[in-house]
């Protein structure tokens, strides 16, 4: 069966510091991968998605970037965090054969102080 991991689970960072969040998927190959941000009490905002290694599409311009160095690894980064980057970050995957069905990881709670 497929599983998706995210780490760290929680993170507290000062403004201006760098960020690296990691997501890995097990039990599948060539998945579509997604990064979402969820602000407190709000819906899901798609940040990036990837259909393959090195292929990244951005939904909204922002202070963040994403990379996919391996087939089942997706990384969310920032060079300098802003207060507004605080939120709950979710990684998700879908199968190339059933791209509509997205499955989410446990999330990373980021607080920027």
């Amino acid at each position: 069966s497929q599983t998706i991991h995210q780490w760290p689970a929680t993170l507290v960072q000062p403004v201006g510091s760098p960020l690296s969040l990691e997501c890995t998927v097990e039990g599948t190959s060539n998945p579509n991968l997604y990064w979402y941000r969820q602000a407190a009490g709000r819906g899901l905002q798609l940040l990036f998605y990837s259909v393959g290694i090195g292929q990244i599409s951005s939904e909204v311009p922002q202070n963040l970037s994403a990379s996919r160095p391996q087939d089942r690894q997706f990384i969310l980064s920032s060079k300098k965090l802003l207060l507004s980057d605080s939120g709950f970050y979710l990684c998700a995957w879908s199968s190339g054969g059933a791209p509509n069905e997205q499955f989410f990881g446990p999330g990373t709670r980021l607080t920027v102080l």
Binding site: G41, G43, Y49, A92, P99, E101, Q102, F104, P106, R109
Partner: protein, 114 residues
């Protein structure tokens, strides 16, 4: 732009009652409509989904009703239980496609009182 509108924002139901959450979409090209359940501090979990070739889909106590002409769909939770207390998100996408166009509603916080 908000392509999927969800209501209500919050909902309180007594144990054993029926919880109803509604969503409306704009893009007629959408053809996949999932519902996700999210508990505090956890990632959303796919609950149930429907495609527009059927008007209703039932899985246990959860039912999706779909009205293609009205561009609306809803989640019904029968015999609601305190363990159902969570935030529910509807979504819509078109496919099958490898890129992403899943659009989520803003969520409904459901509280089931014992």
């Amino acid at each position: 732009q908000q392509q999927v509108k969800q209501s209500p924002q919050s909902l309180i139901v007594q144990k054993g009652g029926i919880s109803i959450i509604n969503c409306a979409y704009e893009n007629t090209a959408f053809d996949y409509f999932p519902w996700y359940q999210q508990f505090p501090g956890k990632g959303p979990a796919l609950l149930i989904a429907i495609r527009p070739d059927v008007s209703e889909k039932k899985e246990g106590r959860f039912t999706i009703s779909f009205n293609k002409s009205a561009k609306q769909f809803s989640l019904h939770i029968m015999d609601s239980q305190p363990g159902d207390s969570a935030t529910y998100f509807c979504a819509a996408s078109k496919g099958p496609r490898r890129d992403n166009d899943m659009r989520f509603g803003a969520g409904t916080r459901l509280t089931v009182k014992p």
